[in-house]
Amino acid sequence: MAELRYTEEHEWVRMDGDIATVGISQYAQEQLGDVVYVELPETGRKVAPGDDMAVVESVKAASEVYAPVAGEIVEVNAALADAPEKINQDAEGAAWFVRLSGVDGDAVAALMDGDAYRAYVEGLE
């Protein structure tokens, strides 16, 4: 399994072949607090980097989840709709949001790796 890459907006991406799985980072879920609701996009939509892709809501905040790279949404994690608390429990694993096809592997590799992201987060605090 490929390692995770991260964006400055706290999304993570994992490449499996040419399918990219996207979620929000552990840090992001900690900041949000208890997640109460997730709004997922429809499959079939093409996204460009930075496009609004999903919304994750806690009791006191709502945050946009942006597309980290260009691609087409081929799958969404419907289980999140019934159990949004999964995001608090396993943000960087089972609680993925969407899967994108037609993704450029180089674009993903250009994102921050785990160490770089941790350093980035430390810089924010």
């Binding site: 706290h10 208890d34 109460v36 009791v59 989840v65």
Partner: protein
């Protein structure tokens, strides 16, 4: 996610550390606590055969409902008058209110609600008027509206007032719609609005409703609009700037004249959110600051009661150039006296339309007007001075105990961040809940968003000094306890309120928004 996701507040309360001690009889048998009586829902009481009103059944007659007679039970409970009075009296006992004590909720202006206002509003000559009565029968009501408008025009130095908006947010909508209409009429397709990042959430929400895109301007180190950043965003496509003055940090925007001049120079308007007018009424007129449109919150500045969340009233003062676009109805005065121009025709041909049915929040007009006559022009200015004095007193008294967000004097409210207690593992939320135990309503928390763990404190002018001092002592005492190791007690506050901390996560994840009879099937979601 944004780069700096906001730290969460609220959510699931911490499990309570206190257990039953060696004495098992710590609670009451009934679950009540003396005067604080647990009260079930209305729907859990009574009997369908009961009613709290006596009505005589009409004699048999032939219905003319076109076959649309309602079938079956509505499901409402039946109770007698004594039960109703007790029910709501017990519920009222669970509410903190201005009448209970200090209510320093920043940006809300929780000043005393005078009872004379309640008497005059209930005079049948005001309360029992139908909005569609012929004008000849309501001249006194229209004269009062005219009188109120006169006071608002005098206080702002502006020539026109739209009275109808139902609350501050609707007033903002009115102001921004009028600006949009004015530019449209001049053939100018301006679509961008500047909003400071410290603005109240209604501001960008309002701008979006008017079809504008929102361009956020950062604040500077002094808590004011960053003038250079603002100027960099001026261009001919700008419709308006939405400012609050004093701003949401409780500070007067010193550069307001320069801001207004620069904005006007590119042909845009200055909209002012007047929520904080209490600081400056009678001391400076918004028109003299270059403001083109400003809404009032009668339920903040002019003492009409907050009532558990409304009703409010949000009239909007308008500059000459914007007046033609004010929503109907317009108060007009002709040879037969006062009337209201109700349709967007004739003199009101350019009106943006209508924001609510009928004429506006007349009940609040009567109350606000009564307050204005009571305080007078001299009293309103004195009130502003006392409000600013009280806030600066709180700031000065607490600046070494809590952590002020910005240096210097404030206006009618002062702003702190959570620096003073964060090191103890205490959040602003925890501190607020501890204040509840001390017998106070907390300050506004987590607003404005630009200050981490913000606590916005607005004392208002109607607090006796002794009450301010009580609050100051309580805050100092809480900090002293924190320093002496009392963090745990504060983290699990409140201990004495009718309810401990409530599980907001559960409420949002599994919304239960109405009572249902036992065993009644839940209506299927579509």
């Amino acid at each position: 996610m944004s780069r700096r996701p906001r730290r969460a507040s609220g959510g699931t309360p911490p499990a309570d550390a206190g257990g039953a001690g060696p004495d098992a009889f710590t609670g009451t048998v009934s679950g009540n606590r003396a005067l604080e009586i647990d009260e079930p829902l209305l729907f859990e009481q009574g009997d369908p055969s009961l009613s709290g009103v006596d009505l005589t059944e009409p004699e048999a007659f032939e219905e003319r409902l076109g076959g649309l007679a309602r079938d079956g039970a509505i499901g409402l409970p039946g109770v007698s008058e004594p039960q109703v009075v007790r029910h709501f009296t017990r519920l009222s006992a669970k509410n903190y209110a201005i009448d209970s004590g200090f209510f320093p909720l920043g940006s809300c202006t929780m000043k005393h609600n005078p009872r004379l206002n309640e008497r005059t509003a209930r005079l049948p000559g005001f309360a029992d008027l139908h909005p569609l009565q012929p004008w000849s029968t309501v001249q006194g009501a229209l004269e009062l509206m005219d009188g109120l408008a006169h006071w608002l025009k005098e206080l702002t130095g502006m020539p026109a007032v739209a009275l109808s908006p139902a609350a501050g947010a609707q007033g903002e909508l009115c102001g921004m719609m009028v600006i949009r209409a004015a530019h449209d009429a001049a053939g100018e397709g301006r679509r961008r609005v500047l909003v400071p990042e410290s603005a109240h959430g209604t501001n960008p929400a309002t701008a979006a409703t008017c079809g504008y895109t929102v361009d956020t301007i950062p604040g500077d180190a002094r808590g004011r609009v960053d003038l250079a950043e603002m100027k960099a965003k001026l261009a001919p496509d700008l419709a308006a700037i939405m400012i609050t003055n004093p701003n949401t940090c409780g500070l007067f925007e010193n550069d307001i004249l320069e801001i207004a001049r620069a904005v006007h120079d590119v042909g845009a308007y200055v909209y002012c959110d007047g929520a904080n007018f209490n600081a400056i009424m009678g001391k400076v007129r918004p028109a003299d600051l270059g403001i083109d449109a400003m809404h009032f919150n009668l339920h903040k500045t002019f003492s009409t009661p907050h009532g558990g969340g409304g009703p409010g009233s949000g009239p909007v003062a308008l500059a000459e150039a914007l007046a033609p676009f004010a929503p109907v109805p317009w108060l007009v005065h002709g040879k037969d006296g006062f009337a209201l121009q109700e349709s967007a025709a004739g003199p009101a041909g350019a009106a943006i339309g209508r924001l609510k049915a009928f004429h506006g929040q007349m009940g609040m007009f009567v109350r606000a007007y009564t307050y204005m006559l009571s305080l007078g022009g001299d009293g309103l200015a004195q009130a502003a001075e006392d409000a600013v004095l009280a806030a600066n007193y709180m700031l000065a008294a607490l600046k070494d105990t809590l952590s002020p967000a910005y240096p210097g004097y404030c206006m009618h409210e002062c702003l702190f961040d959570d620096e003073a207690f964060r090191a103890f593992g205490i959040t602003t939320l925890d501190f607020a809940k501890a204040l509840i135990d001390e017998g106070f309503h907390p300050t506004t928390i987590y607003f404005p968003l630009v200050v981490p763990g913000a606590m916005l404190l607005e004392p208002t002018e109607t607090e006796p000094k002794a009450e301010l001092d009580r609050f100051i002592d309580a805050v100092k005492g809480l900090m002293a306890r924190l320093e002496a190791g009392g963090a745990e007690r504060i983290k699990t506050a409140p201990h004495y309120a009718p309810r401990r901390r409530l599980d907001e996560t559960r409420a949002a994840r599994h919304p239960v928004l109405r009572w249902r009879a036992h065993g009644a099937p839940k209506e299927g979601a579509e």
